[in-house]
């Protein structure tokens, strides 16, 4: 699947704004990303969010990713 990388996350993938990854769940997707781009681990440690078909998930590694889903990796959104 294609994963779109927002902002600073794209630099961890050598500047690529879109990368090809595999994974049936968010957890598998993140694992696949780190295998390919080890620098991504720092961002995963700081926390990221994953948007699947417009819905934003934090800490939901078991969340399935449907085929042909729109997937975006985002900096984690905190609040006040």
């Amino acid at each position: 699947m294609e994963v779109q990388l927002a902002g600073i996350l794209s630099q961890a993938a050598g500047g690529a704004r879109c990368v090809e990854c595999t994974g049936a769940t968010i957890g598998e997707l993140l694992q696949s990303l780190v295998l390919r781009y080890p620098e991504m681990q720092m961002h995963l440690d700081e926390g990221v969010a994953v948007a699947v078909n417009g819905e934003i998930y934090r800490d939901r590694r078991d969340q399935p990713i449907p085929n042909n889903a729109d997937v975006f990796l985002l900096p984690r959104i905190q609040g006040g």
Partner: protein
């Protein structure tokens, strides 16, 4: 979730369960706990904004008989010199530790250097003078312009800018760069008939919570140590203290006291780890409190910012391109809310071509913390001011201009995902129809309008509901209540169980008595913890049906449960919830429900505010004469507290726009660290904030809830700024719109 559902309790204005204790002074806040044998801690703070510590000798203090313990940076086992030498230093904790107790260098006025615990508060304060400390004073960096200049002193010699096209090769005060884009920004501006381009800035401001930070701590080497403190997230306090002191989570119990405001500022730790060090060393309970001056100087304010905004539109009102360059002050350590600032800046607009670049900049001010919708008020202030200026230039009403370009379901955001169903258009229509917008603008008054967007989040929440034999019950949650959420939990559980809300007592349990809960922040509590409450109540309903079935000798499928009563579908029998609870011992024991969830589907929130301001052109004094806040709540569980959130956000935003700012001397000394000189709005300063609740349900929540706590602080900055600009006939680009600034603008125009 059903839009057409009739609710019995949801939407009512019940009395909040914690209200009586709070208004009668019985509620216990952070400073209210005292324990036998307790001693007091005090903090030595830096008188300089930027200096190397050349000598730190605590031996004279140690020799004082009243002094029972001393703490310095070297007492953090996970990050201290020994940990660095043996390679066991914890990642990511160094900045947190250095902010709590300085390591060789102080980075802002008021930065904590060492702590002393003594037999009395006065003795602890007096003993601070016995610490021998010397500094090599360095030039402070107090602004973004200074921090990014080539001549600026570097605050952190190892800090390299992240996010550049090529890896940085030398240290910088810019910790990170972020870039977001959509479409073709150059083509977008080429297609525009009119372009507005302007620079804006906002000051460092504080959340202004009324209760200062305080804690009472007991170290226990044979069991969990106890931390009592006012916090938005006691599980997060536990995690951070455990990381800093190399403890297991099970070795710490954190009790969240009642909390006198937080607004994001109580989502981190300052005193708690220090007090635990002092308690461990002394073997005594330790209490520590910040003064108001300490809170201003050394807790976490909101970032100052600089924004360059460019917006282009066709004469028919179609926005063709929007561009922003955003700089955020992080304070002494990296980590401003630059990211969400970049992500939110243009989200109210459905525009093809967008480009945003953001920078996180360190300066010699306290490390910033979250403040309601962190990062969004600063960037959206700039964007909304430019949008209003552009609407005026092409002669369009600001609401019609926004309606023509409004984000809606399917709008692709600059940060990636497409929006689901959102309520911006509904808010704009409500604004257009509001009595305020349709009232004529009085003489010498300016009117401003602005929109705002915030994501809202879900996350982890855990809830237990225990029923008693008489049918009353307890809702055990782990989300500190800073805005009336206990009342909402009561009402949601009551709606499912069909009982009176007052029969269910909601309590915020400590970290040992309920499973993990994320911090109360991100407008998540009524949404996510509410979802857990609903799930726990539904768990109970299934049990009630099974118990009733056992009593009637039928199957659970042959039992219906509605409005607090079980019905035997094979006959006429009925049992109330209280009846079933009364017989619980005969049908399997007492009844409780639970839910541990990671809530998904938080519904984004939009707001629109309208502000009328009168300006005294001789003094520059401003008076807000009318103000209306309109916001999409999804579904207002308790309308009074939803309105309260709208009003509170509006008031804080008005203060940010009109008066509030940190004032520093050229040496970096904060000169207004108190409420006499740091002017927050008082009730007597403002008119009634008119609140209009829009309800566009969030389909992911059983009752349609969207978070409401944060969005309300975003629109006021530009609504006020535009109103002032209209009143004085001059563009506003810098906050606050304080009387001296307004006078200067008026005089320059003459």
């Amino acid at each position: 979730m059903s839009e057409a559902r009739e609710f019995k309790h949801i939407g009512q204005r019940t009395i909040r369960p914690d209200g009586f204790d709070k208004v009668t002074g019985k509620a216990n806040y952070g400073a209210d706990l005292s324990l036998p044998g307790m001693i007091w801690g005090a903090i030595l703070r830096s008188p300089h904004a930027h200096a190397n510590i050349t000598k730190l000798d605590v031996s004279r203090a140690e020799a004082n008989p009243d002094v029972l313990a001393i703490a310095t940076f070297e007492d953090f086992p996970s990050v201290n010199a020994a940990a660095q030498r043996d390679g066991t230093q914890r990642d990511g904790m160094m900045d947190t530790a250095c902010n709590i107790l300085a390591n060789q260098k102080v980075l802002y006025h008021g930065h904590a250097v060492a702590a002393i615990a003594a037999r009395s508060e006065a003795a602890a304060i007096a003993a601070l003078d016995l610490i021998d400390i010397e500094y090599e004073v360095l030039r402070p960096v107090l602004s973004i312009d200074d921090a990014i200049s080539a001549q600026a002193p570097i605050l952190h010699e190892t800090m390299m800018t992240q996010g550049l096209a090529e890896p940085a090769t030398k240290a910088s005060n810019i910790s990170a760069r972020m870039e977001l884009k959509k479409g073709d920004i150059e083509a977008g501006f080429a297609a525009a008939d009119v372009i507005v381009e302007r620079a804006y800035d906002t000051p460092t401001v504080h959340q202004g919570y009324i209760e200062p930070h305080a804690t009472t701590v007991v170290f226990n080497e044979n069991g969990p140590s106890m931390i009592w403190c006012p916090t938005q997230g006691h599980f997060d306090v536990r995690a951070r203290v455990a990381q800093l002191l190399n403890l297991e989570l099970g070795q710490i119990k954190v009790v969240a006291s009642e909390i006198g405001g937080g607004f994001g500022g109580k989502t981190t730790v300052y005193l708690e780890p220090v007090a635990l060090i002092l308690s461990r060393k002394s073997g005594r309970p330790v209490k520590m409190e910040m003064s108001r001056g300490d809170v201003f100087r050394a807790s976490g304010p909101a970032s100052a910012s600089q924004s360059l905004i460019k917006v282009g539109a066709k004469m028919d009102g179609t926005i063709t391109a929007m561009q922003a360059t955003l700089h955020y002050e992080a304070g002494a350590f990296q980590g401003s809310p630059m990211g969400p600032g970049c992500m939110t800046v243009f989200t109210p607009y459905d525009v093809e071509n967008l480009y945003v670049e953001g920078f996180d900049v360190v300066v010699n001010k306290p490390k910033v913390a979250a403040y309601r919708a962190p990062g969004a008020p600063q960037s959206e202030f700039a964007a909304e001011m430019a949008v209003n200026e552009l609407a005026k230039k092409i002669g369009m009403d600001p609401i019609e201009f926004r309606l023509k370009n409004a984000a809606k379901e399917g709008t692709q955001t600059i940060y990636g995902p497409k929006l689901k169903v959102v309520g911006l258009e509904a808010c704009l229509e409500a604004a257009k129809a509001s009595p305020h917008y349709n009232a004529p603008i009085p003489e010498n008054v300016g009117r401003g309008l602005a929109a705002g967007f915030w994501f809202n989040i879900g996350g982890q929440s855990s809830v237990i509901i225990n029923l008693n034999p008489d049918g009353t019950g307890t809702i055990i949650e782990g989300s500190p209540d800073i805005g009336g959420s206990r009342a909402s939990m009561q009402m949601m559980a009551a709606e499912i169980l069909g009982v009176a809300p007052s029969s269910l007592n909601p309590i915020v349990a400590d970290t040992e008595h309920v499973a993990y809960n994320q911090t109360t922040g991100g407008s998540r509590t009524t949404f996510a913890t509410g979802m857990a409450v609903v799930e726990a109540a539904e768990d109970i309903v299934e049990q009630l049906k099974a118990r009733a079935a056992a009593m009637w000798n039928v199957t659970a499928e042959q039992v219906d449960f509605k409005d607090g009563v079980a019905h035997n579908l094979t006959g006429e029998d009925q049992l109330t919830l209280a009846d079933i609870c009364a017989s619980a011992e005969k049908t399997g024991g007492q009844i409780s429900g639970r839910a541990n969830i990671n809530a998904r589907g938080a519904g984004p929130s939009f707001a629109v505010h309208i502000c009328d301001i009168k300006v005294d052109k001789e003094t520059g004094k401003t008076d807000v004469v009318r103000y209306t806040a309109i916001q999409d709540a999804g579904k207002a569980i308790h309308p009074s507290y939803v309105e309260g959130q709208f009003q509170g956000g509006a008031v804080q935003g008005i203060g940010w726009a009109l008066n509030e700012e940190y004032v520093y001397s050229k040496d970096g000394i904060m000169e207004n660290a108190g409420f006499l000189d740091y002017r927050i709005p008082l009730a007597s300063d403002l008119p009634e904030i008119e609140a209009i609740i829009v309800e566009v349900p969030n389909s992911f929540h059983p009752f349609g809830v969207r978070g409401v706590g944060e969005t309300g602080i975003i629109p006021p900055l530009a609504a006020v700024g535009t109103a002032v600009a209209e009143a004085i006939g001059q563009p506003i680009s810098s906050l606050p719109c304080s009387p001296p600034k307004i006078l200067k603008l008026l005089m320059s125009a003459q």
